[in-house]
Every structure is written in structure tokens, then in C-alpha cells.
């Protein structure tokens, strides 16, 4: 007796009125997978850098994210403290150890406690590094690895994300190309998170509310020079 795998595949082939695909056909499909091509990329995803940054900011704000523009990574600790102060939050964050954030001089804010590791249920604020920003919808792209646990993106109520403006691409497709450049073709980290604004729901009488299960606030720190110096 054949197993369910064979049953499903056989049923597919008989519905399509054919047998297993011949080798030439699969070779063409293999190529399609090995060299993924973009389909339709909207014009608003193909802007020069300055306009791209502007579009990213306005799209992110449309979906209730807040943004601040900083000259360099030196300014990050101060901007984080400013955020905590205006939100009346304790001076403690849990930060990813992404190389970008390792270049942040946290000690310049001696009152700020910075913990690392995956998020715990009680964490209130996280600081993460974006792999890319996508201008067309103001979307952040975050990628999981040993330095960037996914829980930081979802458990704390306040999500602060550092995004060097040089990482703002026009369209999602460019972010995929950059990721392939880092990891190689046909490979992905465990999680790639596209984040467009803070979490929300409208499940009760279509009333839009921010802060469903994920963060209530998404604050993006745009950094123009992404070196520590």
C-alpha cells in the first residue's frame, strides 16, 4: 500500500492529466527557483535614496509608528532615554547583541540598564536592529540569529528598532536580494519578520486598537552614519 505522500502526489498528477514531470521540465523549474525574478515592482518602490528615506518615514507614520532621525550610533542611548522619559518608563531595556548595536556606546547613559538575551515575559522595552527598511510601505525587516532573538520583537510592549538609513531599500525584492547576499541562495534564517507599525486589532465592533498581542508602540531610530565613530 502506498503512503499518503504518494497518494497526494499521484492524485495531483492524475488531476493534471500527466505523469511525473520529464527532466527538461524540472530543469526549467529548477532554474526558476535558483534565479528568482521580481514580478511587478511598484514605481513608489524605485525611488532614489533621499526620497526613499522620506517615503519610509511617512509610510511608517501612517501606520502609527513613531520615528526619530539621528546623526550616528553615538546618539542612540540618548534617544532611547528620551523615549523612556516621555513614556514615563523605567530606565531599563533589553537589547539585541547585533553587531550594529554592539557599536552603540550604551555607557554614555549611565542610568540606563541594558540587558541582553531573549525577551522575558516581564520585559517592557526592547531595542533591536533592523536588517532593512522597505520604503514602499514603511516596513522593517528583522532577521533572527544568535544575536537577534525573535521574542524581542513581540513580547515587550515597547519596541525600539535601530535602522541605518543606508539600509532603506525601495521594494521588498531588494531586501530578499540582500538577504541572499548574506546567507546564500535558497536559504533562510529561522524567522524573517516584516513589521509595519505596532500590533493592532479591530475584532471588537471594528474599533481599531493598538497593542493587541505584540507591542503597543513601535519607535524607529533612523541613523544616518552607522559606524560607532
Amino acid at each position: 500500500m502506498s503512503g499518503p505522500r504518494d497518494q497526494v502526489l499521484t492524485a495531483i498528477r492524475s488531476a493534471l492529466g500527466r505523469r511525473v514531470l520529464p527532466e527538461q521540465a524540472t530543469a526549467a523549474l529548477d532554474r526558476r527557483l535558483a534565479q528568482p525574478a521580481a514580478n511587478v515592482v511598484p514605481a513608489r518602490g524605485r525611488l532614489p535614496l533621499a526620497e526613499r528615506i522620506e517615503l519610509f518615514v511617512s509610510e511608517a507614520q501612517r501606520v502609527n509608528a513613531t520615528t526619530a532621525r539621528l546623526p550616528d550610533l553615538q546618539a542612540v542611548p540618548g534617544a532611547v532615554m528620551a523615549y523612556l522619559r516621555q513614556a514615563n518608563l523605567p530606565a531599563a531595556v533589553r537589547a539585541a547583541t547585533d553587531p550594529l548595536l554592539q557599536a552603540v556606546p550604551w555607557s554614555s547613559e549611565p542610568l540606563l540598564q541594558v540587558a541582553h538575551g531573549r525577551a522575558q515575559g516581564e520585559d517592557v522595552v526592547s531595542v533591536c536592529a533592523a536588517f532593512a527598511g522597505v520604503a514602499e510601505t514603511g516596513t522593517l525587516v528583522l532577521v533572527s540569529d544568535a544575536h537577534n532573538p525573535v521574542t524581542l520583537n513581540f513580547l515587550p510592549e515597547n519596541h525600539i528598532v535601530v535602522l541605518p538609513t543606508s539600509r532603506i531599500v525601495g521594494a521588498y525584492e531588494e531586501a530578499w536580494q540582500r538577504l541572499r547576499g548574506t546567507l546564500g541562495h535558497r536559504r533562510m534564517p529561522r524567522a524573517v519578520n516584516w513589521i509595519t507599525g505596532p500590533s493592532r486589532t479591530a475584532d471588537i465592533e471594528q474599533t481599531l486598537l493598538l497593542g493587541a498581542h505584540g507591542p503597543k508602540q513601535l519607535h524607529i531610530l533612523l541613523v544616518d552614519a552607522d559606524t560607532g565613530r
Binding site: A11, L21, P36, T137, T139, F154, M188, T201, A212, H213
Partner: protein, 474 residues
């Protein structure tokens, strides 16, 4: 889930008389259609994206075996396991087996229409595993032991008072005299209750909006972030997806994502779009240790081989539902199963049989709005007509309809007789109704005249006018 689709006429009557439901449907109204329109107006490439999306799905369905095998290979490469399931029972058994092997007692769930389709919640409960829905709307209807009334807004049929009642009954840990009037307060209560479930669950079950053959990734789209907590915190993750969800590449998925949220809620993109590929990597700090994907057929391969193949392009955005005048009048529960609206009226008879769900294709005015807004350009009205034909051929439609159609066909095939019958019929009605100019009731058409008057025919028939004006037959 058990179906009451066979009772559609009764369900619809009850829905029309349900005041609370009618006010919920009125509140739902044109909100999504207006937002969709606005989002599309901001994206001039939308029509081109629809063509591209349709082409991607067509290509994938033609090579479905290849892409599923590629997907399986990639998932296995990163340490995940793929389980093929021919039907709902096989999927339920597999899920239970995985839950038992991991000693799971609590399972968090992120809204999955496939989960609804296979009735996984009742099944797990029956076997002493507690499923907890985490999408707010889905959580509310789980507390009320109801199916979703809309594929993307499952609790759209409820008022906030009904939600408050459900919370009071289900959350005895809070003071019984607490004020539960504002949606904000209810959301915060649900967030607190569910946060505990997220942190303690042993297994997380999610659906998938798409599967990517290129990388073995599954895509989940939510606004709340519940799917992400479901697939990050528990030790074991189970993904249930039907086989038509696969697309070739990340670029192909991206094209469809540009269509999905705009068509569904009118957002440019949902808040969270997550691409998950296998279990926690050795160096990762979080993520599930075990990762299972169930690939479910459950009727899809039959559709692949028949005239409803194009329905397999559906990306479950709900645009057809949001634009359907019948759905707007009766809501989702009247359809009697987990899907509703035009997509439900096509899908349900295909999945559970024309005998059970033959009424549903008749629940349409064939106005064509659904096809106009479908991002995948699925010819829903054509399919509804084909299902009506099937119902007629199987002699499942009610006798008055069959006889009426038979009588019509008899006349329509005999032009001379037709002409005569029209002349007599129109002349008689015209003569009787001349004084008032309309009929308030007509024998055998009381259903029609109950809510409106029929204008009485005036003057000659169409054919008479046509020949008087020198019109010719082609």
C-alpha cells in the same frame, strides 16, 4: 466541523430576523470596501499585480507536485518534518499524535481556516488537550462555541456587549463587578489572559498564508502578533496548510502579499508578515525545537481536476465576502460551515458535497461584484452557475424550481409558442394592472411581491417592439 449548509433557507430567514445580527452587519457595512478602494487608488500597479498574481498561481498549480516536493526537501534540510495528509481525519490524528508525543496539555492556536475545516479544536478537547485560540476574534468565538462568521473577522457578528458577557463567563479570576464597556478594556483583559497561555503552552498550532518552495518557508500574516507568539514560544510548532498554498519563490510570495492586505482590510500591508523556516537553529536564543508541517489535500486534488480548479487560486483575503450583498444581508453563519460569501458558496459544495451544500450557490444575485474585486480574478459567478447546474442535474433542487426551469426551457426552445405566450401573458397582466399600474401581490410570486410591487407591463412585448423598429435576427 458539522455542517448546517443544507438548512441555508431556514438559516437565512433566522438571520434576517435577528436584530442584533442585523445591526452588527450594518456596522460592518462598507468599511472594508471603502478602505480597499483607497489603498488601490494609492497603487497604480494594482491591476498589473493582479495579473501577475494570477499567473503565479496558475503556473504553480500546473506544477503542484514539483513545488510541493521542493518545499518538502527544503523543510527537511533545516530539520523540520513534513507530513502528508489525504483528509481531515488523517490531519487530526497526526496532530494528536504529535501533541501526545510531546506530552502537551495546552496548545495555543493562531487562527487557521484549515484548523476550522478539520475541526481540530473539538477533536483535541475530546482527547484532553486544551486548545486556546489567540487571535482576539477567534478567541471570542471559541469562548462562545461558535464557528467564525467571516474568514478574516471571525467575530464580526457580535456586539461589544456580547463580548463582555463572554468574558465575564470565561474569566472568573477578575472581579465580577468590573466595568467592561470599552473595547480597549476588553482587549487588555484578553491580552493579559492570553499572555499567560502563550508563555505556558507546550505546542503552538498555526495555519499558513503561503508556503515557499524556494526556501521551505511558511508565511503568516497577522495584525495582532498572536501568530508570532504562537510560533516562537512553545517547544513544538505545528503548521497546517492545504496543498494549494505553495508558491515558487519569495518574489512570487511578495507579489501576492502586495495584493492580500489591500484586498482584505485595505491596509497596505498587515502589521506582521512572518517567514518561518524550520525549528530553532543551534545558535538561536528562541524558537521551537520541533517543527512540523502538515500538507493537507482534503478535496483539493479533486478540484484540481475539475471545472473548479481556478478556485484553488484563492488567497483567502475575503474581498468577495466584503462586497457580497447576500453576505451583507445574512452574515456568515447562515452558510452553515466554516467559509461564507461567494468563496464559501463555491468552496463548501466542493469540499462537503453538492447534496449537503447545494443551496449555497443559489445564495447569490450573480451581480458580479465578487469577481470584480477578487485579486486572483477567480470567476466566481461562473462557478456558482456551474454548481447550480450540478444541483439541477442531480435533481437536488426543489421541485417548483426544477419544474419552472423545465417549463422555461420548453418555451424558450419553441420561438413561435414563446411569442404567443408572451403576447397573451403580457397582454393579460397589462389589462388587469392598467388601473393601478402595479401589482401588490401575484399568485406563485408572493416571495417576490412581499417586499415590493411588480410594475404592470405597458404596451407591446419586447419582440413586438423589436420588429416594429426593424430589428433583425443575427
Amino acid at each position: 466541523m458539522d455542517s448546517t449548509a443544507r438548512l441555508f433557507p431556514e438559516n437565512a430567514h433566522r438571520a434576517l430576523e435577528d436584530r442584533q445580527l442585523q445591526s452588527a452587519l450594518a456596522r460592518f457595512g462598507e468599511g472594508f470596501p471603502v478602505k480597499r478602494r483607497n489603498a488601490i487608488d494609492r497603487l497604480p500597479e494594482f491591476e498589473a499585480l493582479r495579473d501577475a498574481g494570477k499567473a503565479i498561481k496558475e503556473h504553480t498549480l500546473e506544477h503542484l507536485d514539483y513545488y510541493l516536493e521542493q518545499f518538502e526537501t527544503k523543510v527537511t534540510e533545516v530539520g523540520g518534518r513534513v507530513h502528508w495528509c489525504t483528509d481531515a481525519e488523517a490531519a487530526r490524528q497526526k496532530i494528536l499524535e504529535i501533541c501526545r508525543a510531546s506530552g502537551a496539555r495546552t496548545v495555543t492556536k493562531a487562527k487557521s481556516m484549515i484548523g476550522e475545516e478539520i475541526g481540530i479544536n473539538e477533536f483535541l478537547e475530546h482527547h484532553s488537550v486544551k486548545p486556546v485560540e489567540t487571535d482576539l476574534g477567534e478567541y471570542i468565538i471559541q469562548l462562545r462555541h461558535e464557528p467564525p462568521s467571516h474568514i478574516i473577522v471571525p467575530a464580526v457578528h457580535l456586539s461589544k456587549e456580547q463580548v463582555a458577557d463572554a468574558f465575564r463567563a470565561a474569566h472568573p479570576q477578575f472581579p465580577s463587578d468590573r466595568v467592561l464597556e470599552e473595547p480597549r478594556v476588553m482587549l487588555d483583559e484578553a491580552r493579559e489572559v492570553l499572555r499567560r497561555e502563550f508563555l505556558s503552552a507546550d505546542v503552538g498550532i498555526t495555519g499558513a498564508n503561503m508556503l515557499v518552495a524556494e526556501t521551505g518557508s511558511i508565511i503568516l500574516v497577522t495584525n495582532e502578533g498572536n501568530a508570532d507568539l504562537t510560533q516562537t514560544l512553545p517547544r513544538v510548532q505545528i503548521v497546517i496548510a492545504s496543498i494549494e498554498k505553495v508558491v515558487p519563490t519569495l518574489e512570487d510570495a511578495t507579489t501576492i502579499l502586495r495584493l492580500l492586505a489591500r484586498s482584505a482590510t485595505g491596509q497596505e500591508l498587515s502589521v506582521y508578515t512572518t517567514f518561518t523556516t524550520g525549528p530553532k537553529r543551534p545558535e538561536d536564543l528562541d524558537g521551537p525545537e520541533e517543527y512540523h508541517v502538515l500538507l493537507l489535500d482534503n478535496g483539493r486534488t479533486s478540484m484540481l481536476g475539475n471545472e473548479f480548479k481556478e478556485m484553488l487560486r484563492c488567497i483567502r483575503c475575503g474581498a468577495c465576502i466584503n462586497h457580497c450583498p447576500v453576505y451583507a444581508a445574512v452574515g456568515g453563519h447562515a452558510y452553515g460551515w466554516v467559509y461564507s460569501g461567494p468563496m464559501g458558496a463555491v468552496l463548501i459544495p466542493n469540499l462537503i458535497g453538492v447534496g449537503e451544500a447545494g443551496h449555497l450557490p443559489n445564495a447569490s444575485t450573480l451581480c458580479g461584484r465578487c469577481e470584480e474585486v477578487c485579486p486572483m480574478r477567480i470567476p466566481l459567478p461562473r462557478m456558482l452557475r456551474q454548481l447550480r447546474e450540478k444541483q439541477f442535474e442531480a435533481k437536488l433542487s426543489p421541485k417548483p424550481i426544477r419544474w419552472g426551469l423545465w417549463g422555461w426551457a420548453f418555451l424558450a426552445r419553441r420561438p413561435a409558442l414563446y411569442k404567443l405566450a408572451m403576447r397573451v401573458g403580457v397582454g393579460t397582466l397589462g389589462a388587469i394592472g392598467r388601473r393601478r399600474g402595479r401589482f401588490r401581490s401575484l399568485p406563485m410570486a408572493s416571495g417576490w411581491t412581499q417586499a415590493r410591487d411588480l410594475p404592470s407591463p405597458q404596451g407591446p412585448t419586447f419582440q413586438q417592439l423589436w420588429s416594429a423598429r426593424g430589428g433583425r435576427r443575427q
